[in-house]
């Protein structure tokens, strides 16, 4: 080694990142992804339970959706640089901004979820409660998947590169979380749909993640290494264990069903924090910005020849 300043690498400016990683706190924003998913998919399962005569599960999921959406809004506000200016989010209606669309969505979904939960708990205004349940179930899936656009509509290689697959991953992860919540809170005689839901979610999540990694090419390594890799492996193990537990023992034992449900919820948390960590890792390494862009240039050059 020679002394003196390190020579500039030819593929970057002294190894410094090219794009800036978001300064979002993981527990706020990855937490927001998870809670939005739990609330949104929970409202769908709640409506299903409501319609098919599973009142205990329906009530529990409505309450958990209200709690989750309240916490998610709190997390979003907490992460602002100027929390007192949160109302500025509703200053414009801007379809090019996923954050703007999400704010409007939250302000429509939140009251619906709130009304669904309150009428269910109090037993008052059953007809209004049914409409609120239906409204929350219509908006819920969008709440669960729009956060994927929020992440993907950036220059972050691990998120933008997977912009086609990320919404499906988030939809599956949200279904896993809501199925988990239904297993934790619902009685055995009501939990069959939640067990099916867990299977659908586990299969969907695995397929979406594989498709995303195929698409990402060299950037996929950010989902396999470091903090993101540990989280994604934990997510896979927890989701698989939770699904297996739910299918095999979820209809026999209340304890088994609740344990499986907790595993599914934890798996969904790990998936969201894992995706978040992969994005940060991909933003911090200039190779993940330069590599795919060089490939795009090369493809264009080949095409034009």
């Amino acid at each position: 080694m020679t002394s003196g300043p390190p020579a500039a690498r030819t593929d970057s400016y002294y190894g410094r990142p090219i794009i800036k990683a978001p300064s979002w706190a993981p527990h706020d924003i990855a937490g927001y992804f998870f809670l939005g998913g739990l609330a949104g998919a929970g409202s769908v399962l709640a409506a299903g339970a409501h319609l098919t005569g599973r009142p205990t599960t329906a009530k529990a999921l409505k309450v958990s959706s209200l709690a989750a959406v309240s916490l998610s809004a709190a997390a979003l506000i907490h992460d602002l640089g100027r929390p007192s200016r949160f109302p500025n989010m509703l200053r414009v209606f801007k379809p090019t901004s996923p954050m703007s669309m999400g704010s409007w969505l939250l302000s429509a979904y939140g009251p619906a979820a709130g009304a669904a939960a309150l009428t269910s708990v109090t037993g008052l205004l059953p007809r209004a409660g049914a409409s609120a349940t239906a409204a929350a179930a219509v908006l819920g899936p969008v709440l669960a998947t729009y956060t994927a656009v929020l992440a993907a509509d950036t220059a972050v290689p691990a998120w933008h590169g997977a912009h086609r697959e990320l919404p499906y991953l988030f939809a599956a992860s949200a279904t896993a979380a809501a199925s988990g919540m239904a297993l934790v809170t619902g009685p055995l005689r009501e939990n069959t749909p939640a067990r099916y839901g867990a299977v659908v979610a586990a299969v969907g999540e695995d397929a979406a993640l594989r498709a995303a990694e195929r698409r990402l090419g060299s950037v996929a390594v950010t989902y396999r290494e470091g903090r993101a890799g540990r989280l994604m492996r934990a997510a896979r193990a927890l989701t698989a264990a939770g699904t297996a537990g739910a299918v095999l023992f979820g209809h026999r034992s209340r304890t088994a069903a609740a344990t499986a449900g907790i595993a599914l919820l934890a798996g969904s948390v790990c998936t969201r924090f894992g995706v978040f960590a992969a994005g940060i890792a991909s933003a911090e390494d200039p190779a993940h910005t330069v590599g795919p862009q060089r490939e795009a240039v090369a493809r264009r050059t080949t095409l034009s020849q």
């Binding site: 090219i18 640089g81 996923p98 939809a171 599956a172 199925s179 060089r294």
Partner: protein, 302 residues
Amino acid sequence: MRDDLFSGPEPDPARDAGHQDAPERVGFFTDTSVCIGCKACEVACKEWNAIPEDGMSLTGMSYDNTGGLGASTWRHVAFVEQPVPAGRTELPVVEPDTRAEGEAADSGMRWLMSSDVCKHCTHAACLDVCPTGSLFRTEFGTVVVQEDICNGCGVCVPACPYGVIEQRPTDGRAFKCTLCYDRLGAGQEPACAKACPTESIQFGPLDELRERAALRVDQLHEAGVTEARLYGHAPDNGVGGDGAFFLLLDEPEVYGLPPDPVVTTRDLGAMWRHAGLAALSLAAGAALSFALPALTRTKGPR
């Protein structure tokens, strides 16, 4: 079909943003071949815009102790120290060459210096994703943050394909170069261009700058500096052309610039479509979870 609103050539962004009597679009042409790394632009920018200091540390990597653009650095001079590429021609800056034979030419190293700045993209991702309308397009075609609106959501930060805009930790809001919006309004050129002693930073109407830049590249190529190339000038690039573009002497990534940046909004239609389909698949999955047990129950023994 490409969505012309979100990507591709866009001749008049100011008028498209609603400025009826917009003046000519202005910008920067930064000719790094004559940059001497004096950092007068960094200082002038800090002074004029009253930007706070952002760390008095030494990077230990070169004469660049600024590091990069950020919330409190709106001009950044990069110092690239690299081995002289094979077959390189000396820049015809000083003539005739009066140095002692072989004195500096044999060091085997060269410096590239470049003053980086916000690109004021034609299709600006930061502006597109801003949920409050704080980021807006000025009548000059530039992109500016309204600090009295910004609530520090931070989504513009990862949206920028150049890593320019940033939240100031002590403040929470996002900040970046305004192309001296206040000075433009008064008919003045931006502080950095005013302070540049070598005219490396040139300010003016963008069309005129593009012509001037093309001539300069030809001139350098004729002088044997074949590695000279323009960066960000083309109206059909991934961001619809940069309002601030550069003449570089090496690959963009060597200067910390992305080789092929794309405005993320180009893919927004696909993203919303997939989010919609994913939402439908979530509903379908849930419906299946309720339908299957009902079906198996009716078929199976009671």
